[in-house]
């Protein structure tokens, strides 16, 4: 699946960066979300990918039976998903607030481009 996943991740990055460069606040939120997905998949595919073999130790063994998926990227991604959720909710609240107080969702108004 490696090469196909690499292409998918590349597309996710390209689309999210394109969205982050938009002037509309909503698109920036979408970009932020996709960017997080892309990064998580990137970390995931950096480890050894093994189908359907979770790194779980059976009751009668001391290590998981090989081959098994790399647990380290998984642990990192688990943290990243949760933090990403925190960032996204904060950004959404901030963007909503910014729109309410500025009256526009355009990121590049005259007053802003100093």
């Amino acid at each position: 699946m490696g090469s196909a996943l690499a292409i998918t991740i590349g597309v996710l990055f390209a689309v999210s960066i394109y969205l982050l460069l938009r002037r509309s606040l909503a698109k920036v939120i979408f970009g932020l979300m996709l960017f997080g997905q892309g990064v998580n998949l990137l970390i995931f595919s950096a480890g050894k990918m093994v189908r359907y073999r979770a790194p779980i130790i059976p009751p009668d063994a001391t290590t998981p039976p090989a081959p098994y998926a790399d647990p380290l990227p998984q642990a990192l991604i688990l943290t990243a998903i949760v933090i990403g959720f925190g960032i996204l909710s904060f950004s959404v609240a901030l963007i909503y607030r910014a729109y309410r107080s500025r009256g526009t969702d355009d990121l590049e108004t005259e007053e802003e481009t100093r």
Binding site: G2, F44, K48, A69, G86
Partner: protein, 775 residues
């Protein structure tokens, strides 16, 4: 004992504002007792130290770095300490009268004591790093003192100027001291370092060490071309000027040179640098002082000249010259302190410091007049004052200097002629003659305003008549410390008729003539100051540099922190593409790039195509709900990938978080306006090119990375030790055991984000502000 004495002063500084609230200006009298007691205690130890038994103590501070609170009072430190404490006590007394009624007088006493602590600590430090710490503390305290009239913009900029110039030197000093410590085997102990002269002067770094340390000394002691900060420091209240310029701040550089002389002196480089700077400063200070009309400016520039003289003497590097330097330090502190205070009293009681206006004050202010005349005679070097002895010794030392004797003597005579003229302008002109009209009717100040300067002036007469009081007990131990060998000093008022006396007489006579010519000199000096070369001084260079730095910082900030999200993202992505792309190009070969779709199962292919389609549709769609729905396809697709590749925990978490995220988005998105296409087609194409190249770089990076198989050291460690940590799910064990602190941090971030979201949504400004600005 030394550390506790410093702590007593710290307590005094901290208590000063409270004491002031309780007893008003008289707090100064009480606080003056602190340095006075210390002065007497030290004076009692004078015989011990003169016999070569310094007071030393050591308290560990940072033992691992060899930095101790080590203090050592030898002859040199003692001379400086007595001057700092003695004049300090008088200044506190004087300040209680001079600033009476000023609302911040309590704070003033605190600053003054702080400054005193810094000076005392610096001269008694026996650890080079400790010396540096106190050195910088004097800079900070002087900043507070010079800028004491903080509502005055001139005072603020002068304080900043003094701070920046002396801090620049301070940085050089630190570098020099660290190099010195490395060159002598890593010790920061000052007394140990000073014993290793041979090793230091033979070391290849010696020129660098010397240049750096002397740079520190020269900036602090206002040597040409760094002299410009000193007259600016005149914006301080008179007690501060009197203290900083007579006994303390500016003499820190002199002290540093004298302190370091046992290790650093005795080379051509030392002699060359110090005599050059000294002669230039001595002459420049005298020339700049002479045409001034402001009492304090006259005194300030004459201080510059006196500092040059001291540096020159230390640079001559003979026993005689060091004797002259030590005596001149004491003499200068006495007369300059007295004159600054007398000038302050005159300003305080008449409302002006202009010598062209002031005249005939002797009758109205007899005691101040006595102080000024006594000190002025010492400055001019007339018998029977101690200034006379000092000047005789100065000339003797300069005449005896090897090779350059005649040249430095000629320069010294020229500077002294001008000093005599300045002394006459300052100490006689305002008091002699008929009374002029002044902004305030002149009258004698309170006792606190005339007693301190008069005390100093009387000491000048006393030491002149009985030089035996200071020569063996005070000056000799100081000279011994600087020369690192026992030295006898015998001072006499009358040396008989010799060439030095002839020089003295000629100096005073010429000085008197020059004094009479002052009215012609002033307009000429003003013309020079206003014409081309006059406006190109180091002070202008300082202003230019400062302004340039601010402009440069402004430009950089505006360029880098422009506030446009698009700009930030664009720069970050471009840099990522450029740097990663360049790195990839270096390892690039067609073989490194392996496209392998052989093990791709059909349902996986469908899933990935759906994700790609979802992402692209979310980017292109202008319907908010459709965009969110297609984002959902991507998110759930990611969860499925996790699930298929042995990561059930990730799949579950992703499912939950994705669902929650979509709900939040749907709730918020309908409160935002419809999505509008705002960018021009050209912009869209540029953005798309950047985004696509970033995506391509990532894909290539991944393809190459997937073919590298580094040793999974960490994975093996976690897997093998998971059971020991009481868990069979390795991912969970990593999160809650091996990397539990990370997880704690993660929870904290989440809590902070939750608080932030709550604040953004529920907290509102009380009233709507007209410009839509809220903080």
């Amino acid at each position: 004992m030394i550390l506790s004495a410093l702590l007593v002063l710290v307590a005094g500084a901290a208590a000063a504002p409270l004491l002031y609230r309780w007893m008003g200006a008289r707090a100064g009298w009480v606080l003056a007792l602190l340095p006075l007691v210390l002065f007497l205690a030290l004076a009692a130890r004078l015989p011990d130290i003169a016999d070569g038994r310094p007071i030393a103590e050591r308290t560990p501070w940072i033992p691992s770095l060899g930095i101790d609170l080590a203090f050592r009072i030898d002859g040199l430190a003692l001379l400086f300490l007595l001057v700092i404490l003695g004049i300090g006590a008088l200044i506190l007394l004087y300040g209680s009268g001079y600033l009476k009624g000023h609302p911040l007088q309590g704070r003033f006493f605190g600053y003054l004591l702080l400054f005193m602590i810094a000076m005392c600590g610096m001269v008694s430090a026996d650890n080079t790093i400790l010396l540096f710490v106190f050195w910088e503390l004097t800079g900070i305290a002087s900043y507070l003192l010079i800028g004491f009239y903080h509502e005055d913009a001139k005072a603020r900029s002068s304080a900043l100027q003094a701070l920046l110039v002396t801090f620049l030197g301070g940085q050089a000093l630190l570098a020099g001291l660290v190099l010195l410590s490395i060159a002598t085997g890593g010790s920061f102990s000052l007394s140990e370092t000073l014993e290793q002269r041979e090793q230091v002067t033979a070391h290849p770094w010696y020129p660098a060490i010397l240049l750096l340390i002397l740079f520190g000394a020269f900036t602090k002691s206002a040597q040409f071309p760094f002299h410009f900060w000193l007259p600016g420091a005149m914006s301080a209240p008179a007690p501060v000027s009197a203290y900083l310029h007579s006994a303390t701040m500016v003499n820190a550089g002199i002290f540093l040179m004298a302190r370091m002389a046992p290790a650093l002196a005795g080379t051509e480089l030392w002699r060359g640098l110090a005599t050059t700077a000294g002669v230039a400063t001595m002459l420049a200070g005298a020339l700049l002082a002479y045409p001034q009309a402001d009492l304090k400016k006259l005194l300030a520039y004459s201080t510059v000249s006196a500092l040059g003289t001291m540096i020159l003497l230390l640079g001559l590097d003979t026993v005689l010259a060091v004797k002259a330097a030590m005596l001149f330090f004491l003499v200068h502190a006495l007369y300059k302190g007295a004159l600054f205070m007398a000038a302050g009293t005159v300003d305080h009681e008449t409302g002006t410091r202009d010598v062209r206006v002031l005249s005939g004050l002797a009758k109205a202010m007899p005691l101040t007049t006595a102080a000024a005349v006594g000190a002025g005679l010492s400055m001019c070097g007339l018998p029977p004052l101690v200034g006379f002895i000092s000047k005789e010794l100065l000339y003797e030392a300069k005449l005896a200097a090897p090779y350059i004797g005649p040249a430095v003597t000629a320069a010294g005579v020229a500077a002294n002629v001008l000093m005599v003229a300045v002394g006459l302008i300052v100490a006689f002109r305002p008091f002699h003659g008929t009374l002029n009209h002044t902004p305030k009717p002149p009258h004698e100040g309170k006792w606190t305003l005339w007693l301190p300067p008069l005390t100093l002036a009387l000491l000048g007469i006393l030491f002149g008549l009985a030089p035996g009081l200071i020569d063996r007990g005070l000056i000799a131990p100081a000279v011994s410390a600087v020369r690192a060998q026992e030295t006898e000093v015998t001072l006499k008022l009358w040396h008989g008729i010799n060439s030095v006396l002839m020089l003295s007489i000629a100096t005073v006579a010429t000085g008197f003539v020059v004094f009479r010519l002052r009215h012609r000199a002033r307009p000429a000096a003003e013309r020079i100051a206003q014409s081309g070369p006059g406006s190109l001084g180091p002070a202008r260079l300082y202003e230019w540099l400062l302004e340039g730095m601010v402009q440069c910082a402004k430009f950089l900030t505006h360029t880098l922190q422009h506030g446009s999200l698009r700009g930030y993202v664009g720069v970050a992505v471009s840099v990522m593409v450029a740097v990663t792309g360049a790195a990839l190009l270096r390892v690039w070969s067609p073989a490194a790039l392996v496209w392998d779709f052989s093990d791709l199962r059909p349902y996986e292919g469908v899933l990935l195509i759906a994700m790609i389609a979802g992402a692209v549709f979310a980017a292109l769609s202008n319907s908010r709900l459709a965009a969110i729905a297609s984002l959902g396809i991507v998110g759930f697709g990611v969860a499925l990938v996790f699930g298929m590749y042995g990561a059930p925990d990730l799949a579950l978490t992703q499912l939950l978080v994705e669902t929650l995220t979509l709900v939040i988005l749907v709730l918020v998105i309908y409160r935002l306006p419809r999505i509008a296409s705002r960018s021009t087609p050209r912009q869209q194409i540029a953005d798309a090119i950047l985004a696509l190249s970033a995506g391509a770089v990532i894909t290539v990076l991944l393809l190459i990375a997937q073919n590298l198989h580094p040793e999974p050291v960490l994975r093996d460690y976690f897997v093998q030790n998971s059971l020991e940590a009481k868990g069979r799910n390795v991912v969970n064990v990593i999160l809650v055991d091996f990397r539990a602190l990370d997880t704690l941090g993660e929870i904290t971030v989440l809590a902070a984000a939750a608080l932030g979201v709550g604040g953004l949504i529920w907290l509102r400004p009380r009233r709507k502000q007209p410009e839509g600005g809220e903080s």
